[in-house]
Symmetry: D3
Subunit: 270 residues, 6 copies
């Protein structure tokens, strides 16, 4: 099967790291296609950036022109999953929910360790919206920004392990969720430092996407996530016009879609 | 004071109706500037459209180049308010929360009557996120789409009043919130039909924005809604590039901002 | 419009301070009539006093004999708002709810700083009952009694600012609510000390009462807050008989009402 | 032991019925003293009446001049229990909580059947405040007013049993709580009609008061229900002045207390 | 009346201590029969042991061959109460719920002090399941195992009183629940040390069982706790076969039941 | 990898059906070993049976003498998962939680359709305990007992599909969870009848167990699910003694463990 793994920021370096993590977790036979949004912030830390990123992720998936079987949104605590679910006829997995679910399976309560303190309320809101907050013991910040985490794994490890240990001792956490896609690759080291299970969102997201595809399950289309109604959507998808303006003439294929009446999302017929 | 009232869809007709409602509710001395997003759907019914609209609203406010004292986001149950709060140094009021708050002041529990059934889960999620769900007796759908509501006020009134009456009788609602900006202008008629208070979101949003400005209150900047950190944001704001691609050379003033390192939002110094 | 601002304790000095705060917050054209209950405690700190005060407030409003457009109950975390709503055909605003609502509009979570620790559980109960607890980060006590707060503003400011700063740093509050009517006049100083928005209940209550009146909204009468049924109520209202006993013959006008069959509340027809 | 059973309305007929129910439930050796408030409504249906009644109940207990071991507040869903707890150094039991607790012990979920629909929100609020709402399947109204229930037991039984059966069948109730003190005496008949346990509040309240006294447990005085602070309370207790005004010279003993500095409540030293 | 008090562990010494506590709390005329399970752990600290103990308790009651009027399950925070309720036609009281209920009656919030930290999540889960968590301020561990608590009352008292004081000061508890049956006998000393009400589960359980029997209330049989359906249950009850294997021929009376088609529980007809 | 799939009832026919379902869902390379408890009820419908079954499942796993990588507990809404987690050093997945998690991934809210009405409260309690109730729209009963469901798939399908359709239309469910292990094999037919995703617990449980093993995640051992402490456990495991009594001399290997001091669970070292 082919899984689209969509980074939420525009850093190609982060996209490559996410792809490595995803491929290490994937089963044999799973192809991971890692995508970077065509616009938006280089890192996502806050609501404005998260909303912009959500649309950039939807745009990136909507303009992907091959078949695929599932989508994994690789940003922790970010907006947008519900929109992707409406657009795509295949399963969509947000790494926030994937990680929290697996953490619940291996413990009573879990704590999230994330990047900056400013992202804590947003993560808590996202978990509450997903109905996964009841067993969340705490959300703690390491104090390092997303790009710092990604650049200095040693410092990242120390900061994360310190907060993870406090989560276990003070907050009663039985397991730890790494609350930032930029922490990919650190789960084993944090597990060794704390002695509790540590869940990485990208690995969890890939595993759950594989499970859904394997079981023939996809988003229900009768209710909350029905496909968008046909209607006029000015400039959608956005990237062809944006890139046309920035880099010269827009690509012909994309230009056709720029004023399309409906949002649609090519996917492998299942 | 000057309030930016931002429609969430691209229908100029809806923008004009919202402006009429807002001006009827505003105090003497309040100037209402009604804005229409430069991209996005002609009506917002679902999560994909709501996320796209959220960014279009932020883009519209970010490219408005005069001073203003408050922003009212005029879409019911839509995404984006938290992002606008980070961008703007002035108060931002979402009509969803404004309406639910006033409904709580005039009754024990309130019900929302909205457009299509597919928007019900999104409205419930938004109210839950805002901590306003405890006193929400129900969210009911009239069965009419946003543009239908706006086009045929007679049919809209009958459908809304019928659901409002059931909300009072069956769900125990003490008051009704009109759950769609396209219902602007119907509150008095629904009140007469049901005998309970009926809250229109646009009027409520304007009144609360005026109150916040009057009391010198604005969004706290130390915590959840701190301004975005300085960073590279590709193509932000989006509309200059989008419109440049579609309509010819982008406007000079906007072009300067197109690859700016930080998101910022001009507002009247207070 | 005329707003009745009812102090919950019998201290005329507090009533005058509340009136000053309310008038500073009111729009041009709003007349604030400040009332002091005719019986009850000189300060309200605890449930017994709060219940007694609730009835004294209702008695004071029921025996006010001019027209008015709204009532603001100026005690933080006190009982009685629902009773007033049944009695009065005009909007009734409790400063507890008013302040918490505005705090929600300018931040993600808010903390309350109140007087004595013994009032904390009562305030939390009141916020929970009003459905406003979800976004309450904490309720903290300054350790000063109501009358101490009112007498020494310097000491009050230091104690409140210290707790407010801890609420922001330790509890994640984005804004502060002054949780005692006796703190009127301190909001600006606490805002300067902490850098976060500070909401004063009296100002908030007046602003919301003005908004409700301006929008033509008042308490729903079909459900939870329907007017009292006609029935025998011994000695209601209480103050004519009480004052007659204490000070000589009861006032003729009041005496007529002393054994009335129904509770009623004169208000301006709207 | 001596238990003060305080009716919340001024109907002596109701007081006598409550006393009969209480005495039937009491153990040998328990003396039930039934008290009627000296002011307030003849029946309590709504918040205004409930607040007034709460103070009348406190006044009645505060002016009772013999020793006693516990107080049972015999109004379902009414205000005031927390105030009584501050005033009295002996256990105070509200029949609402007593009945809901025993119902939880004999089933998974319980439903309340009360008098008029207008009292439903107040009962739900009271149960929520007491933390007893989680297992409340529903609160249903019989449609009969308090005094109607008390006057026509046949009609009361039919109306209550019909709602009780629907609570079991439709709402999943395992047991029924009679949600009005005026239903005293009907529990056995409703149990026969429905086949589920039926809890009468007065009987439950007496039993729990006996248990608390028997185990030497009384209200904690360090926290939420600490005794009132010494302070000036105008006209407290209220009844001596009220009765003095209405009926002639106030009773000497009571007059002494009319302007007392502190609220106190004589009780048997334990 | 006769109450079966069932220890959850196999320590006869603990059973005797529980019986002493129960008899001290019981009214005149109440006979307490203390039972020890025929299999299972010598102390219960954790979920595996708690589940095993739950079945051992049900087995012990099912093989008790005299009449009885109520059952008290004397393990704090343990599994099994719902199963016993299905088996027995008489009231079943779990000391966890009994203690938490009485604690709610004498304070606003209560804290539990238990044995080891590992039992804290299980107790919290049990309280949440019983709908008694809303008013639980905290669950604290003394750090002493069940058998240590039972063996050294001096050390137990010091450890419990220290946590109880912190619960009052730091967590806002108004009362303390002793969260381990092995703490029987310490309630008075902890109350003296802290000045707040202290509830012992065994005493509370006996008192509530007496109240239910006295009021003629027993588990509802139409819903959640209907008697088991007739069906093949291999080896039930378990103890006759277990003891037969271990100690020789099983007792004749028990052998008859060993492969019975239905679970039943002899009890006094009421 | 080898997964132990443990039926919760003693019906070998059900065990075979579960094994078929599990093997159809498993990936290549996964070996499913299906186990039947050695004692307990032939079907599990109610709390008594569920508790007994929980211990029988733990006994069955504790006496399994080969290596294995994960355990799936194949009873919907049953007790015991936490105990198994303490006993086993490998992942333990309860099909209730597995199914609800996958249902959350493919929709906003899910409904459960189960066997008899009497099991509804138990399932709701289990979902609440697992923190998975927030997104549960309803739990509906088909009215057929476990063994009826397993015997007549045609009748089962009709009854389940009817309730599923009502869950979608009336309760707003976006997906359906089959709430009884005896429904194995019906998911595709119910999906066709309703057009919404249908999750079978056994398939979900196997998939999640495979994911956990694949990602190297297992139950955290520092907190809520630490291994049992060493202590005397009379007759544990139970089955050797039970079978010795019933069928002759117990098996030698098992006899050694019959009075062991600690509970342990052989598993493949990972």
């Amino acid at each position: 099967m082919r899984i689209l793994l969509v980074n939420v920021n525009t850093s190609e370096r982060v996209t490559r790291a996410l792809a490595d993590e995803a491929r290490a977790a994937a089963r044999p036979g799973t192809e991971v296609v890692a995508l970077t949004p065509r616009f938006g912030p280089e890192s996502v830390e806050g609501n404005f950036e998260s909303y912009l990123s959500a649309v950039a992720v939807m745009d990136r998936v909507a303009t992907y022109d091959g078949p695929y079987d599932a989508v994994v949104q690789a940003g922790f605590g970010e907006h947008g999953r519900e929109g992707l679910q409406e657009l795509c006829p295949v399963p969509v997995v947000d790494i926030t929910e994937a990680a929290a679910q697996l953490a619940c399976l291996v413990g009573g309560e879990y704590s999230v360790v994330t990047s900056l303190r400013r992202t804590v309320p947003q993560i808590r809101a996202r978990l509450r919206q997903a109905g996964l907050d009841t067993r969340c013991a705490s959300v703690r910040a390491s104090g390092l920004a997303v790009l710092e985490l990604e650049r200095d794994h040693g410092a990242a490890l120390r900061a994360i392990a310190a907060q993870a240990e406090r989560a276990v001792e003070e907050d009663g956490a039985d397991s730890i969720v790494l609350g930032c896609a930029g922490m990919a690759g650190l789960s084993e080291a944090v597990r060794e430092a704390t002695g509790v299970p540590v869940v990485d969102g990208v690995a969890a997201g890939v595993a759950l996407a594989e499970s859904l595809v394997g079981l023939g399950l996809s988003t229900g289309r009768r209710g909350a996530f029905a496909p968008p109604l046909p209607k006029e959507i000015t400039h959608w998808p956005l990237s062809p016009a944006l890139e046309g303006a920035a880099h010269g003439p827009s690509r012909p294929a994309a230009a056709d879609a720029a004023d399309g009446l409906t949002a649609s999302c090519p996917a492998r017929t299942r």
